[in-house]
Amino acid sequence: MGLTLMEGNEIIAWAAYEAGCRFFAGYPITPATTIYNTMLRLLPPEGGIVLQGEDEIASIGYCLGASMSGWKAMTATSGPGISLYSESISFAIGSEIPIVIVDVQRLGPSTGSATKGADGDIQFMRWGNSGGLPVIVLAPSDVADCFPITMHAFNLAEQYRCPVFIASNKEIGLTSESVDFAGLERVPVVSRLLAPDGQPFVPFRSATGSDVPYFLPFGANTLVRQTSSTHGENGYITTDPAAIRAANERMDRKLTANVDRFSYCQEEPVADAETLVVTYGVTSRAARVACRELNKRGKKVSLLVLKTLFPVAQNVIRRAASNVKRVLVVEMNQGQYALEVDRVLKSHQVEFVGAMDGKLISPSQIMEAVSG
């Protein structure tokens, strides 16, 4: 087995390619640019398309056009670009356009620090859209993890016809690690469900036994309608409150009711642990060191590393916390995901540990917080 030195960003690009992505549009921004660079090497020689948009708004617009043409599309940026994506994220949610959006997070607010890491966009990814319907947010924890997480992101975007975020971080995207490239975890590729022949195509009617409509691309023999306006099943504007409510409830339900099927996580449970550490992303690496060391010293601590952040994997969190008294949520921001954990674990004491200062949270900080 040989090893290759690769960045998290490069792995995301390779995994996207293997997941069937053939369209990428992006605008250069540190620390996400090397995803664009790598896609530019990968896609054009294989018949794919890479565009450098005139701005982030255009980049995601190109992707939505490509996705509705039947292509798997991805864009990548950092916090300032996610801000500009917002209107199109709302569009992709409400009009059920599959797209994968990578946010290689950097220290904010605003332009912040281009080369410092943070997990400051976690709630922004969830809520940075008009209407507030759910999206899927997945968080890799290291370079190798970027591979399965990216493949899952494409599969979920296809399966549920929605935007899927990859919540990366400068500390993953621009860190190089030795990886066994051939041995990285790969998952079977899923593609959107095409409308069966011989049945009338109603663009926003659920497929049988599902809350997700069948897809047909522009260019199909059957005419395809797509609109950002409030629409009925036929894709035309509607003002019927019952139809509108049904569509919004369906788009909510198609993700929240199915989250148990894609609640990716890693657990290191310890019998009789009093404390559970919940974390995600690059911080999980420090948390793992801290928890192992604490357990070695006789302080029993369980660890839960979440890979699916939204919709919130409530059952996973409740199960992991079922026998502990205290829950610590460790994250590189001012306590964003702690709000979710606190909401889910009503009867627990949930504490936040973290900071947003451009530095990784260290194992000793976590150990102090658990012991304190």
């Binding site: 020689p45 797509q226 609109t227």
Partner: protein, 433 residues
């Protein structure tokens, strides 16, 4: 050919609106070209022109304000066989200005109809990018301060290869649209019209005034010979097919034994232009050649050839969890800028830490063992110091040894570059310490 007008959703605009004429003319143009509905994708913007997609039996995409050209571009590049026609108003023209310029520069084979009626009709008649300065609109005095945009001149300056500005009331409007659809490249037809619901309540605008205005401007309609060039999609596919395929990432086999049994942390403190990042990669590869796990983090300013450049490497027989250096095994101090940026690392060093200090570079007081190397005396340029310092490490058997370094170099470099690096490393191996 049959009409593509959607009979169950006939066009509905305010009485006297110029848009309905354009709907009929576009339908006629489709018929003139001989297109079926499934050969067309109509992409519409926000505003009154944003209703167009519902009036036709074609593929249809209705999106956000000003972004119509971004969706249209994505669709056309992925489905080159479709005729993509985008519609927008003068509102979308203003809000999507950057996309218009980009589309003109790019030349994707699609058609843009700009229905210019000089104001934001749908929101109450506010001024747009094309509202005349003297017009009375719902934006108070604001439009008096702006110069209206002349789409024709702007688009031609931005590189559009086909541009026509026409009156919505002229004979042969369908022919003007048809010609644009048939054009092999990005074609814009600006159609000047009247918004009776808002604009002409307070402003006098008639088909005759529009004709006179067009005549006064004197623009030439049709292909713009100065901007003639290959269509983007075709040119893209041709160039893309000629790009070399990216080979699978190359792996380095673990054929050697590591020097140290424990985890080793190395920090290279240099300046931009010293090939610090490359040296870091070589160090990583050297570790991987001995079966070690590796992480590398770099830190540098946005300037090229100026400012600090730092690489932090961890080499470990175990999987690396927390990828941050606490106490370094080796510090390479190659430039003041790098040393200044990471001063505190010297406080954390102890006697088990080896510092390789380029002579002339000052470092803070430290408990570490310091080895000074005069790279200048070896006639090495600053760009080679980091590579030479790796050779010094190999000679000291600190973290790496000679076979590890040589294997890494042969993996990373080929041809002339390899010879150059080998030369530098040999100097470091033979002439130092």
């Amino acid at each position: 050919m049959d009409s593509l007008i959607n009979k169950s959703r006939p066009p509905i605009f305010c009485p006297g609106c110029g848009h309905e004429i354009v709907v009929r003319a576009l339908d006629k143009a489709f018929r003139n070209v001989g297109l079926e509905g499934n050969q067309i994708c109509l992409v519409s913007d926000i505003g009154c022109s944003g209703l167009f997609d519902t009036f036709f039996n074609t593929h249809a995409f209705h999106g956000l304000h000003g972004r119509v050209l971004t969706y249209a571009t994505g669709i056309k590049l992925c489905r080159p066989e479709l005729h993509v026609v985008a519609t927008m108003g003068d509102g979308g023209l203003g809000i999507g200005g950057a996309h218009l310029l980009a589309a003109c520069r790019r030349n994707v084979n699609m058609t843009l109809l700009v229905l210019n009626n000089f104001n934001f009709g749908m929101t109450g008649g506010q001024c747009s990018a094309t509202t005349p300065s003297q017009a009375e609109v719902a934006s108070g005095f604001l439009n008096r301060l702006d110069k209206p945009l002349d789409l024709h001149s702007v688009a031609v300056a931005a590189g559009v290869p086909y541009m026509a500005s026409v009156s919505g009331y002229q004979k042969g409007l369908d022919k003007a649209i048809e010609e644009a659809i048939r054009f092999e490249g990005f074609a814009i037809v600006e159609i000047l019209g009247i918004c009776p619901g808002r604009y002409t309540r307070r402003n006098k605008l008639t088909p005759k005034v529009i004709e006179e205005d067009l005549a006064r401007k004197g623009h030439t309609n049709g292909p713009v010979s100065a901007n003639a060039r290959p269509e983007y999609g075709e040119a893209y596919r041709e160039l893309a097919a000629r790009q070399a395929r990216a080979g699978t990432p190359e792996a380095i086999e673990a054929v050697l034994k590591p020097v140290a049994e424990a985890r080793q942390d190395v920090i290279i403190l240099g300046s931009a232009g010293q090939r610090v990042i490359t040296a870091g990669q070589l160090l990583g590869l050297a570790g991987m050649a001995a079966g070690l796990h590796v992480t590398q983090k770099n830190d540098y300013d946005i300037t090229v050839l100026r400012g600090p450049s730092i690489a932090e490497l961890i080499l470990s027989p175990d999987e690396i969890d927390y990828p941050e250096i606490d106490k370094p095994s080796v510090i390479l101090a190659l430039a003041e800028e790098g040393v200044q940026r990471r001063k505190t690392v010297f406080d954390r060093a102890d006697k088990s830490t080896a510092v390789i200090q380029a002579s002339g570079v000052t470092i803070p007081e430290t408990k570490a063992k310091v080895q000074v190397v005069d790279f200048k005396a070896l006639e090495l340029k600053a760009q080679d110091w980091a590579l030479a310092a790796l050779a010094v490490m190999a000679k000291m058997r600190a973290v790496i040894d000679k076979p590890m370094l040589e294997t890494a170099i042969r993996h990373r470099f080929k041809g002339n570059a390899l010879a150059g690096v080998e030369d530098v490393v040999n100097k470091g191996l033979t002439k130092t310490l």
